[in-house]
């Protein structure tokens, strides 16, 4: 049967077809749908772990117990999980273990665009890279087979364009699940103390040598000999872009990007005169191929940054391309914005008015760095806000008193905010941390986490009590507020900033798009055109439901316009009512 599938749906399908029934991960664009789709298959166990490191450890445990295990994350998640990944490369996996890394060239939805092919080489773990949904499904199966065959974790690398493009996939028959789980003991292999790690280190090199041999005959390393004057060595989605514009060139398409098949590459180089290496981001293939003594053209003509498309490859290779080109027209931009009724709006409106540094984190609320809210001043990675606020307050000493805030979402706090908060209590910090608790992982599309009280597979579970946790970490000043209430929010922030020692405010209001806890939306509010003076204060909330309408000034009045509320968008959160000094909104 043929169906249209995204790369992510296809990976989930491939994993299921491979007879795998165990997966762990943490949500992150562009990887999220893999876990969501996999979790829907019959008879599978799939969990959102609190973070990627935990997810990898969970999967290692399952693999050691004899269960084939999948672990899924976005590219930056691999940074979080790098510690166990580098060492499970030494121990091997007993059963199969596949790590999906979904990279994001162009940083469509990420804080950076790192090239995770480097991790394969760095951690000495083989990596497969599919180019479309059909391959995503097949490569997922091949990755499990490879892992089992060589007792190694295997990376399956996707990119946003593979994960989020849809194409036709031929479904295969799933392999029946076989329970091969058992407790076995093999401390020499799994206890990585120095004496044993040194022995395993040698095994890793031996294993890599074997996989290199295998790469030479791996069926997804494909040579297509056409025009012998020009050849392209590539992998993943850029193969499709190149084929689109240079269908007559010869190709070496690498399905396995680590380790590389040296003989095959040399063989291709003998057959073809001029070779281009077409790859997004780092000159990863290029450097290794050049080290083989092969002359290729790469980053001297192709960009280092951002994802490619067929046009980028065409114009790099063919100079002086002609065609009718229409220049882009300058029109107003449409940055993503906090939704109408978003609970973050009230909080960041208040924070933006304070003369404080707000160390931010990863979540929807990061958008409040923009005008008009401007209530957030840094964003590095998951969990960074708390450590940074602490470090900044320590460095500033008296100058930082009452002037340093860290903000973090509930899911992000559970992901990696707990240890830095413990550190704040331990090292006697003076900063204020605000947990923006919207009861879900909103930015990636409403995923569960320990503080929601539900699992990925929709089961009710023990709900983490954030207040109790914060208190047990040693934080004594804790307040819970409703960010829809500006007065309460303002006063709580003022009071906690004035106090000595670390404070935590839990700003609690569930995401306005969140289905389970969708409180009945209030009636939309209206602006009384008679009372509105056109002062524009309400526009300072940056609410998509509020707009400015020009009017002809009345006689003797300087008023240029009034604010208008779109009833179709307004959720009646009432925050704008509280900022209007003229009681024009009700």
């Amino acid at each position: 049967m043929k169906v249209l599938m995204s790369g992510n749906e296809a990976i989930a399908r491939g994993v299921y077809e491979a007879g795998v029934r165990f997966a762990a991960g943490y949500p992150g664009t562009p990887s999220t749908e893999i876990m969501e789709e996999f979790s829907k298959y019959e008879g599978v166990y799939a969990e959102w772990s609190p973070n990627e490191k935990v997810a990898v450890e969970v999967a290692i445990g399952a693999a050691l117990a004899g269960e084939k295990a999948l672990v899924v994350m976005k590219h930056v998640g691999v940074n979080v999980a790098a510690d166990p990944i580098f060492t499970v490369s030494y121990t091997g996996t007993n059963s199969a273990l596949v790590i999906v890394s979904a990279d994001d060239p162009s940083s469509h939805s990420s804080q950076n665009e790192q090239d995770n092919r480097n991790y394969a080489k760095f951690a000495k773990i083989p990596m497969l890279e599919p180019a479309d949904a059909q391959e995503a499904k097949e490569f997922a199966k091949l990755a499990f087979a490879l892992s089992k065959k060589f007792d190694t974790p295997v990376f399956l690398r996707s990119t946003t364009r593979v994960s989020h493009s849809k194409s036709i996939v031929k479904l295969g028959k799933p392999v029946a699940y076989q329970d091969k789980t058992a407790i076995t003991f093999n401390p020499e292999k799994y206890v990585m103390v120095p004496a044993l790690a040194r022995l395993r280190r040698v095994e890793v090199e031996k294993r890599l040598e074997k996989i290199k041999q295998y790469a030479e005959i791996f069926r997804e390393n494909k040579m297509e000999i056409n025009d012998r004057r020009f050849g392209i060595i590539t992998a993943g989605m850029p193969y499709n872009y190149a084929k689109e514009v240079f269908p007559d060139f010869s190709y070496l398409k690498l399905g396995m990007v680590y380790p590389l098949p040296e003989k095959l590459i040399k063989n291709f180089a003998k057959k073809v005169k001029k070779i281009y290496v077409v790859e997004e981001l780092d000159p990863y293939l290029e450097e290794q191929i050049k080290a083989m003594g092969i002359d290729v053209i790469g980053k001297e003509i192709f960009p280092y940054t951002n994802e490619f498309d067929p046009g980028i490859i065409e114009s790099a290779i063919k100079k002086n391309l002609k065609g009718d080109k229409f220049p882009a027209q300058k029109i107003p931009s449409r940055p993503p914005n906090l939704c109408p009724g978003c609970p973050h709006r009230g909080l960041f409106y208040v924070l933006g008015k304070q003369k404080v540094f707000v160390a931010g984190d990863i979540g929807c609320y990061t958008l409040s760095y923009m005008k008009p809210l401007q209530g957030l001043h840094s964003c590095i990675c998951m969990g960074a806000s708390i450590g940074m606020a602490h470090g900044m307050s320590k460095a500033l000493k008296e100058k930082g008193k009452g002037k340093v805030v860290g903000v973090i979402g509930d899911s992000t706090f559970v992901h990696s905010g707990i240890t830095p908060l413990l550190n704040m209590a331990y090292n006697k910090s003076d900063a204020l941390i605000i947990i923006c608790d919207n009861s879900t992982t909103a930015m990636t599309g409403m995923q569960e986490h320990p503080a929601t009280g539900y699992t990925l597979q929709g089961k009710e579970t023990k709900q983490l009590d954030l207040k109790l946790l914060v208190s047990s970490l040693g934080i004594e000043n804790i307040k819970v507020i409703d960010p829809y209430n500006l007065k309460e929010t303002r006063e709580a922030i003022k009071e906690e900033l004035e106090k000595d020692g670390p404070s935590v405010i839990i700003s609690q209001r569930s995401c306005v798009l969140f289905k389970r806890k969708n409180y009945a939306t209030e009636k939309p509010v209206k602006i009384d055109a008679e009372k509105c003076t056109g002062c524009k204060v309400c526009l300072g909330l940056g609410c998509p439901a509020i707009s400015w309408k020009r009017i002809e000034p009345k006689e003797g009045s300087k008023q240029q316009g009034i604010s208008v509320i779109d009833e179709g968008l307004c959720t009646g959160c009432g925050v704008c009512e509280q900022v209007c000094k003229f009681e024009a909104i009700s």
């Binding site: 989020h164 849809k166 872009y241 009718d324 526009l539």
Partner: protein, 194 residues
């Protein structure tokens, strides 16, 4: 099946919440059922409500890239009026262009710090030969609900795609719950004749 080997590229663009992804999903299902190879691509993630949305759909006997290069889109359909101007570099002189009359004000316009572009259709017609404006929300209201404007636009688009109407109707019927099928089929027809 396709008469020639040329792959056709369609670009759908607009604003989050306008039903672009649903429309391009339906379109892909139709093309697949008609025997074409088809690929589509879009980027989602971030809090995209109100942000720009694009979807590339490419079909033919064999499609490699899900993305079209600049200056080579065959059919461009803008679900929001002003957004039609954002993607000019993707178009050719002979691109077929369909523009919805609906306006969604971006934040800067809402805040009064700049104005919504004027004479959009007139400007497009100066550059391109095949420009058609469709008042999709109005037609959708007549069909039963302004939210079905995306299907009206699909109807307008379907005139440019060499696929049997029966397949469109069949796929649309499969894509909605029972009680919404009739309205969406009407919306599609209205778009087709618009």
């Amino acid at each position: 099946m396709l008469k020639n080997d040329k792959v056709k590229s369609v670009l759908l663009a607009g604003v989050g919440g306008q039903g672009i992804l649903k429309a391009s999903d339906i379109m892909c299902a139709v093309l697949m059922e008609s025997g074409f190879d088809v690929k589509k691509s879009e980027v989602h993630g971030m809090a995209q409500r109100g942000g720009c949305v694009t979807s590339h759909v490419r079909y033919g006997s064999k499609v490699y890239s899900p993305l079209e290069k600049l200056g080579n889109i065959d059919i461009f359909i803008s679900f929001e009026k002003m957004e039609s101007l954002r993607y000019l570099p993707y178009l050719r002189k002979d691109s077929s262009i369909i523009v919805n009359s609906d306006k969604v004000y971006p934040p800067e316009v809402n805040l009064g710090s700049c104005s919504y572009p004027h004479n959009i259709i007139k400007n497009l017609k100066k550059k391109f030969g095949l420009v058609r404006e469709v008042d999709a929300s109005d037609l959708a209201r007549k069909a039963g609900n302004s939210k079905t404007a995306n299907i009206v636009l699909l109807g307008a688009l379907s005139r440019l795609v060499e696929v049997d109407q029966k397949i469109w109707n069949h796929v649309i019927a499969k894509s909605f719950p029972e009680k919404l099928i009739k309205m969406n089929l009407t919306a599609f027809q209205m778009g087709f004749y618009a």
